[in-house]
Every structure is written in structure tokens, then in C-alpha cells.
Symmetry: C2
Subunit: 369 residues, 2 copies
């Protein structure tokens, strides 16, 4: 175990409050990790991201390997220095890109991608995914997994589980650095017995953390939560649990109640760029005419720079005028909203009142304002 | 005079160091005013603009009148509150848009624009330009002028001068607020005797500040400086002098030597968005392949957030990846570069060594790196 994970409190609901002691600071869980695919949170400076309170961000191994290449990042002294982020980082393994990007071939050894920009094809194997992630130097790194599409037939799901276990072993064996926490990823689509098999095989390999992968791939909230509910109890209580690619605020809170500690999602930044802003009363489309004269902040209960400083009318005006600053301010607010939501969730867990917090907050998020 | 302007020092070269005591802080001159057309500096938060040290920014009356409308801005308590900028602001009058935008008609009373977005046509008169600027509430406001195109025949230039004087009188008479400094704008194209006539007529109207307009309209640097050299001495020594829309760093420094105090230009933000970054050794195209592995900051002598924090290779990577953050960081650097250049120019003036500073700095800016 490269660094400890403490569970400080477990709420009667099953939600946990923990602390992950990374080389780049303590990450209090449950935690939301904003996504910086290319080693940059979209539209935000690291100073602005730090201001939201985020203790950890996610970056994408595949994208960074394609450009600028892990060698350049390593020459900068690693990803923390390259992107000027001195808190924790988690890199994915490229496994999700096996699912989401066009690829030339997938076999027992690994996956060859057709590079989008028409350049050299990139091949990822478990060994290469670990080598890249060691060069990047994130605090938490992920096993290279086979994320089956949704829906898929049982044979494909079985193949995914078997390949994921075989690759996880190869990842573990390929790891050289001792200061990075390598997470195993449970697959198995929506078959409970396949999830059980995948979890058992990975737990047998004794990783310092576990992720539930193959979710948020089009299956819908109910199915996702069913998979998480079935899988989370199979993972060791003393290790961090991460559901990949989830999700909406209400989905994250529901998964916290199932004992999940870590989350990532592109929604807050993607929505921010298109002018959808989260509030305690559900998302709002800031470009809507109803906000033309609105002198309230985006979310009256929010303490972010955007909400402390600007009115809805001003942010709307920026979007209407095509100003990049609108995208910046909305992204900043949305990331802050997610981070603050997780902090409040943690406080509720520590106080043993998470069930009430969940009910109230979820009702608010679903309110038509 | 709504607020004082002190000339602290005049260099043997003719360059002046002054202080403009606005209701929103002291503006040390010579000063560069970054342009925030729609009440926002492109890609930058007001906190980031403040960090560059800029004591004053410019916003465009015409654009704000079209959207969101000055009434909304006034309801926010004025432009300072609307855009969350508590330092000084100067608004132009819309006169330059008479020159640069498609218009339906121009007559003795005013100008009717065809609104770009196909909406209502906007009519600007001297009275309306002042009313809008009083509603916006900038510290420095501008007379509505007739900026002749370049080149134009003498008759057109004469008509521009006569109309500009008549409109300047109407602007002065229309002014109700006593806390805003209304600047007259000298026109006359490149005819020295027309510039003399325009300057004399406007000085007779006793404005608290004077601008040289009708420059930076395609005439080129030499012609622009010739007009400035001929016009600046005609303006009262005890009042601020502003050359509108100028320009490149070396043009600004040359105009400072001619006794000009205030400048504005879209170049630093426009170039920042396209990846052209200013340095003491001339502008560089950060997307160029030569910067792929470059671990120096954009400008090794710069103290801005971008240069303190990131390498050229990282900023280049952001542009290559299509990340908005690249535009943010390059804009931030460029605005800081202009602001720092003016601060160093002022120090040189106060120390009586501006001629040497001008020669050295201009040679550096022209260096092929």
C-alpha cells in the first residue's frame, strides 16, 4: 500500500467518510474529481480549480500519450509540474477509450487505436498503460481494463471480465514505482454473477483501491445504481472505492449512500461551456430569456467566485455576446458546486445524518425552479 | 474638471508621467487600457485583469447599448458593478463604430446603424451617446465624433472636423453628471491644417481631456506617428492626452515620446486568443513546432501568472489540444506584458532616461529571437 486510506466514519446508511493520504495532500472522501483530459481543466486555471476546493483531479492517459507524449511530461518533472497542479491527480488507463474511441484491433495483448488526427496508430497494452502512467506520475493510477459496450451479450461480458483480470495481473506485475496507488477495475456489465467473479478475482490480486467500471456507458441511472449496489459490498471496506464516469449530482449522492468514495465526470465543465449551470434547485440554462434581468447569483446558496461576484444577467450577457468568460465563469461555478456538494455530503456522513441530507438534497435537485 | 490630472514629470524627450485621480482610483500614466468591448475582457476574469496591474479598462458604448442595453447596466448600479471591476473605466462614444460598422445613414443629427444581428436599428446622436455613457457610469467618457475613413478626400475630412466640433458642443451641453471626465476627440485625417483647426475648436470648448481619433484606421505606423507628432503639441499640457486604438508596443512607446498619456488596443487579447504572445524580443507564435519541448516561460523576463507557472511547451500543448485555457493564459500574459511595459516606461520618464529606454526596448521588440 503506497499510502493509507482511513475510514473516519460510516453513516447508518452505508455512506463512508474517509481520507486518502496521497503524496500530494490528503483527499477527503467522498470526493468528486474534475476531469482535465489533456492535463488541463477545460477553461480553468489550476489556481481557479484550487479555489473550488478540489483536492484531486483526473487526467486521461490515452490523450496525454498521443499529445504531447508522456516523455515530454516526464521531462517537465511529471504531470503535476507540467499542469502546475500541486494537489493529487488520478490518471485513467486508456481502458475507457477502448470503449469510446474508434479502434483498429483488440486482442489478448492489447488494443490498437486509430489515432483521431490521422497520425500514428497508438497501441495500449497493460504494460504500456502502466509505463505511461508511471511517466506521468499521478498519485492514483488505474489498471488497463476491457470496458464492454452497452448493451453487450453475455459472451462479450465474460470475455471482458477475463481479459480485465488477466490485464490487471499484468499491470500489477508491470508496476515499478512504489509511490502510486494502482486501482483494479471491476467489469461484468449488468450480470451480477459476472460482477461477483470480476470483483473476487481482482480482490485476490490485492490492489490498494478498487473501481467499478463499465458503468455510465448508456445503461441509465437505475441500472447503474443496481450494478453499484451489487458490487460495492464485494470490495474491501478498508480501501477506496471509485465509480468511474458518474455522474449527475443526484447519481453521485445515491452512489455515496452505497458506500462509494470517489467519482469523476465531465458534466460540470461540459455543461459549463454550454451555459447549463447547477443549482441546489436543479440545473438552469443561463441563456434563457427569463434570466435577462435577473440580478441574483447563479445559485443563491453558492460561495464560488462567480456567484460572489456576478449576476445571472451578467453571465447570460456573456453567453449572448459569445464571450469566453461566460464559459469560464459557468465552469468555475459548476466545479465548485460539485466540490461543495461532496463536502456537505461528508459533513452529513460524519454527523450520522446522511440519509436525511440525501433525501433533502435530492429533492432540491429535482425541484422545478 | 471632475477630477484632477497631475503631470509628475516630463522627460527631456517630451514623454510625461502623470496621475489621473478618478473616482475609481489613481491611474498612473502613460497607461494602456485593455479593451473589454461587451463589458468583459475577452477570456479574463476581472480578478485576472486586476492581477496584471491594469488600473483602467475600456468598454464600448455601442456594443453595450445594443446588448444588454444601458438600462440593465444602470439597474445593476452601473458598469463597474455589472462587470465587477472596481478600478477605473473609460467608455468610447460609438463614434469609432460609425467608421467601422455597416450603417444605414449619417446626417447632421447623428448616425443610424444597421444592427448586425438583424435586430432593431440603433441610432446614435451626441445626446444619446452621452445619455448611454452616463447610464453606464464610466469614469472617462468620450464625445461622439465623426471618424473619417482612410483614405478620404479633403472635403470628407473637412466635413468630419466640422461635424465633430458641432457634436462635441452638443455632447458638452448634454452632459448632466459632474463626476465623469468628458474627452474631446480631434479629427482631421492626415491634413495638418485640419488637425490644427479641429484641435483649436475643441480646446476652445475646454474639455478635461483630449483624444486623437481617426488614427489606427489603416494609415500605417509612420503616418499615424506623424499625425500624433503634429497634434499632441496643440493640446493643453495640463490635461490627459489619449491616442485611440494604438497599438503595437513599439507604436505606443513612440507615441509616449510624443507626449501621449493614454492608449487602448485589442491586440493583446486578440493575439492572445490566436496564440501570438508578446515578448521583450518581439512576438512569438506559441503554436510553432520549435516550442514543442521548450521548458522556458513565454517571456523569461515576465512576472505574470502564466510565465510564473507554465512552460512554452505546456501553453503550446493547450493550443494544440484546442483547450480554452491556452487562450486564457496567452491573453493574461499579453495584457500583463502591455501593462508592465507602461509601468517601466513611466519609471524611465520619472528617472529622466526615457530616450534610452525607448531605444533599448524598441530594439529588443524588433529582435528576431
Amino acid at each position: 500500500m503506497p499510502f493509507p486510506f482511513d475510514v473516519d466514519a460510516t453513516d447508518p446508511s452505508g455512506a463512508r467518510a474517509g481520507r486518502l493520504h496521497t503524496p500530494h495532500g490528503v483527499v477527503e472522501t467522498p470526493v468528486f474529481m474534475p476531469v482535465g483530459t489533456h492535463g488541463a481543466l477545460k477553461a480553468l486555471t489550476p489556481a481557479q480549480v484550487a479555489e473550488t476546493g478540489a483536492p484531486i483531479v483526473l487526467a486521461n492517459t490515452y490523450h496525454l500519450a498521443v499529445s504531447p507524449g508522456e516523455a515530454l511530461v516526464a521531462k517537465h518533472g511529471g504531470l503535476h509540474r507540467f499542469m502546475a497542479w500541486d494537489r493529487a491527480i488520478l490518471t485513467d488507463s486508456g481502458g475507457f477509450q477502448v470503449f469510446s474511441l474508434p479502434k483498429a484491433s483488440i486482442d489478448a495483448d492489447g488494443v490498437t487505436f486509430r489515432h483521431e488526427a490521422g497520425g500514428e496508430p497508438v497501441t495500449l497494452t497493460p504494460e504500456r498503460a502502466i509505463a505511461i502512467q508511471e511517466a506521468l506520475g499521478a498519485d492514483c493510477i488505474m489498471c488497463f481494463d476491457d470496458c464492454a459496450p452497452w448493451p453487450c451479450d453475455r459472451a462479450r461480458a465474460v470475455a471482458g471480465v477475463e481479459r480485465t483480470t488477466a490485464w490487471a495481473r499484468r499491470c500489477r506485475d508491470a508496476q515499478r514505482r512504489t509511490d502510486q496507488a494502482l486501482f483494479g477495475i471491476v467489469q461484468g456489465s449488468a450480470w451480477p454473477e459476472l460482477r461477483r467473479r470480476s470483483a473476487a478475482e481482482l480482490v485476490g490480486l490485492e490492489f490498494p483501491g478498487y473501481a467499478i467500471g463499465g458503468v455510465s456507458v448508456g445503461e441509465g441511472t437505475d441500472q447503474m445504481l443496481e450494478v453499484v449496489a451489487g458490487t460495492a459490498p464485494l470490495l474491501p471496506a478498508g480501501k477506496p472505492r471509485y465509480v468511474m464516469g458518474v455522474g449527475k449530482p443526484e447519481e453521485i449522492l445515491a452512489a455515496v449512500a452505497l458506500g462509494i468514495d470517489m467519482f469523476d465526470c465531465v458534466l460540470p465543465t461540459r455543461h459549463g461551456r454550454s451555459g447549463t449551470c447547477y443549482t441546489a434547485r436543479g440545473p438552469i440554462r443561463i441563456r434563457h430569456r427569463r434570466y435577462r434581468l435577473d440580478r441574483y447569483p447563479i445559485d443563491t446558496s453558492c460561495g464560488c467566485y462567480t456567484c460572489r461576484t456576478f449576476t445571472r444577467a451578467y453571465v447570460r450577457h456573456l453567453f449572448e455576446s459569445g464571450e469566453i468568460l461566460g464559459q469560464v465563469l459557468a465552469s468555475l461555478h459548476n466545479v465548485h458546486f460539485y466540490v461543495a456538494l461532496m463536502r456537505r455530503a461528508r459533513e452529513a456522513i460524519v454527523a450520522g445524518r446522511f440519509a436525511a441530507f440525501l433525501a433533502e438534497t435530492t429533492a432540491g435537485l429535482a425541484a422545478a425552479d
